[in-house]
Symmetry: C2
Amino acid sequence: MLLINAIGFSNSGKTTLLEVMAKHFSSQGKNVAVIKDIHSEQYQPEKEESDTWRYAQAGAQLVVGRGMQDTVFHWRHSQKLLEILGKVSADILLVEGFKDERMPRIVCATEDAQLVKLVDAHTYCISGVISEKLQEFRGIPVYNFQRDLPKIIELAEQKSTRVE
Amino acid sequence: MLLINAIGFSNSGKTTLLEVMAKHFSSQGKNVAVIKDIHSEQYQPEKEESDTWRYAQAGAQLVVGRGMQDTVFHWRHSQKLLEILGKVSADILLVEGFKDERMPRIVCATEDAQLVKLVDAHTYCISGVISEKLQEFRGIPVYNFQRDLPKIIELAEQKSTRVE
């Protein structure tokens, strides 16, 4: 399983980049999984007053909705990345927003000041909004998700973590 | 793990019964999980235009949202009950709406005609809306979730499936 990790501040272009990568790999017939870290106190995964929401309110620690085309598990605690990885099986795993994990990563940004904060020894590629105006930063290539997608994919396949 | 299974047609009172049971067992400090079978073509587990929804639309087979108090796995296929059970760990597992599984069950109903269709050799208790007007059916007790909760719990603890 190839684990491609993108981090960056809000609205830097992480989701758009990973969405394009999800489409790319899915269209090749690969099994794609995505993990998104949601930094929001307001995150409410269920529709209010839905039956699954009622079960969560009633104190259930896990609520599973088994639909006709979907299966949703809602655990009422925040799991660590490693705990999540133990439950995931895919060809390509796209990971968004886990800033503190030490692993190869793509940094998305809107401006240089963000790069100064986020680019580290694990960073092999820069992308996001800043790719409209910058081509390189500290020797790391800045790629645009529209213009340079093949280059981003190639780098990601070389540099990303492989987990089995 | 005690697996308590309730079935019945729409609006027969399944969710209300299991919700009350979830509150009861949670208030005792037990770890409660719930699995609900959702018979609806319209079931859309994610909010439209949310980032996790975008990943699902992009072809991801699994989308995980890791919040500050929640972790949600959305698999884009309908899993069999056995597959789901393999991922669940709890003291009490409440299961709603799996009509075709052969295991001990509570039947919820609004009228006799529904009981005729659903009550079988696995049925140890009847509940739901019909408990307002009926006390017994083919020798099986009909219990009301408000008036008779202790009796429903006692029967469920005696008769339900135990899975380890």
